[in-house]
Symmetry: C2
Subunit: 150 residues, 2 copies
Amino acid sequence: MLDETDRAIVRALLENARTANSALAELVGIAPSTCLARVRALRERGVIHGYHAEVDLPAVGLPLQAMISVRLRAHTREQNEGFRTTAPNLPGVLEVFHIAGADDYLLHVAVADPEALRSFVVDHLTTHPAVAQARTNLVFERIPGATPVI
Amino acid sequence: MLDETDRAIVRALLENARTANSALAELVGIAPSTCLARVRALRERGVIHGYHAEVDLPAVGLPLQAMISVRLRAHTREQNEGFRTTAPNLPGVLEVFHIAGADDYLLHVAVADPEALRSFVVDHLTTHPAVAQARTNLVFERIPGATPVI
DNA sequence: GATGAAAAGCTTTAAGC
DNA sequence: GCTTAAAGCTTTTCATC
């Protein structure tokens, strides 16, 4: 599905999404016009979903992160759908995962201070009709430097 | 620290890191030259760490994701350092979090198939000298659409 | 698919306000 | 911090291979 040139393009854009097309072309050893066509094809095929800035959360006033495991009351489609649509829109939510196991969802959140975290859990999670239980784990550190997966 | 214009710039680049400077300037209501200077300052101050492509994992051959909670044998500095430096370099690791609570680390991984997941856990985690236990939760779905945090 | 060349557009810098 | 203007790149298209 992807040849080695496509993978090299994806790796380069994972590392720096603003690499200029001319530089990208040189990096992977093809002509700029070809490179542009491949990048466009990768986007159109949905291999690349988008390009995002990586922000320093403490620098933008969100120095506290947590992982919150959420267990639903019942594992009905209705409760899942309800939580699924609510969760990503709660304030401070970075990511939402629907997971297998004892818990049903895992939320990665960033907040300004402990009070904001308390309010998030108490006002938005435990009061949600579908939620049975929420277990909060503070994040000491998000460890950087994961190797590109492809 | 950040004024409303800076935050608007960051929001725009969170959503699309490749927004052209001229478009960004218009979006936030300042002149292109000012906008360029602000974006550069945001990078130099470390508010923006970088720009990354968002990749469709199944499309690049990694259709299976898991969250793996790792508990260390002892909570010594040495064991923490050892695991901390190893974990981000294990194959398929997307993110590593050092967390508070019963478990010590949370790994988000993407793999090609169940056998790769088994091999990751058995060959790289449970055989690591610092690791006491690893609990694997499959990710059914990474739910999109989280609201920008700033 | 890939290329090279031309046109269009964008970035970047500097000077003056 | 804004505007303007100019130079230098980049992107994009298109005819061609």
